[in-house]
Symmetry: C2
Subunit: 195 residues, 2 copies
């Protein structure tokens, strides 16, 4: 950030009066430009022991696999955003069953929110942001070709829990361990029941 | 938004190539300025049948009561943000027990995320953003003087569930009904267990 989006003057990095941390502040009109984490919302769509995967047609991670997910937009709820992304990326009409995970990635200012979902109609098809969509059993999930560590961690938990249908609501932080591998910290897993 | 924060030129409202909705786009450098919902994180702190309330010393809603909550910052998790806000506004050191609610308010681009929490030390004190802090039993909650509808709805659900200690994870959308009163839509309440 270099310029004030309100008046066009240069911004500077300083601690505004009454606050405790540096912000971008306009040198002319004094507007404070807050930067906040963004939510990425997505669905783990379940059907007969399979889950729905998309092969990415866009960067980052072109050609790698993920669950349908994307940035939440102004004007929609997190559930609505997850359902929209699932339709856009996988051509799938779904209904959310339950929240599944809220994983923060603080160093990049993102919060991933995953829901478990079921199909409302049988069709799936690759959207413009996907090269391919498919149903995968746990044994067929391409673990080495998943696009993002946060997706790997969510699917590791989900496939484990799917064995006994004992799903939890997961809360945690993604951070790198000593070997630079992403792991889940401050993990809180609470049993969540649904009809 | 009037100017590009990257180059200072004027921005215009248009649909970028490959997208499906209008964004602010720079007329000179073509940078797309995405706007996304912001997360407000807070704690419903429980102690012996009471919950912790703060009387706001700042606008909006100066003088009205709320639970400790505020905007999530880059570099922290939602849980960490809720714990930080509780210390800043109520001087209370808390530990999160469980997620309690994720309520979206789409028309203002906000997502409220509340956690149930317990005290780690007995002290409470009004921070700079609070006029007063207090413990309230359900019967003593100043319902007519709560700062925000989202707080009223969360506390209505919580006080009801506290009677039997049968807490749920709540998901929903805040919207106005025909009488212009805020109500919860698409409400999903799933029983959440903890030790």
């Amino acid at each position: 950030m270099k310029f004030c989006s309100k008046c066009g003057a240069a911004v500077e990095r300083r601690i505004p009066e009454g606050e405790d941390r540096e912000r971008w502040v306009c040198s002319a009109c004094a507007t404070i430009h807050y930067e906040n984490p963004r939510m990425v919302v997505g669905c783990i769509v379940e059907q007969g022991g399979h889950i729905l995967l998309c092969k990415r047609a866009i960067e980052p991670r072109h050609g790698y696999w993920t669950v349908p997910a994307g940035f939440l937009e102004i004007g929609e709820s997190a559930v609505q955003g997850a359902v929209r992304e699932t339709y856009e990326e996988a051509g799938a009409r779904v209904q959310v069953i339950a929240p599944y995970a809220h994983f923060d990635i603080p160093h990049i200012g993102q919060a991933y929110i995953f829901y478990r979902a079921r199909m409302l109609a049988p069709e799936i098809s690759a959207g413009t942001e996907s090269l391919e969509v498919k149903w995968a059993e746990p044994a067929d999930i391409p673990w080495a070709e998943l696009a993002f560590p946060v997706v790997r961690i969510a699917l590791e938990l989900h496939t484990q829990e799917a064995k006994t249908s004992s799903y939890h609501m997961h809360t945690g932080i993604l951070a790198r361990d000593e070997a630079s591998r992403y792991v889940l910290r401050e993990h809180l897993a609470l049993p969540l029941f649904h009809a």
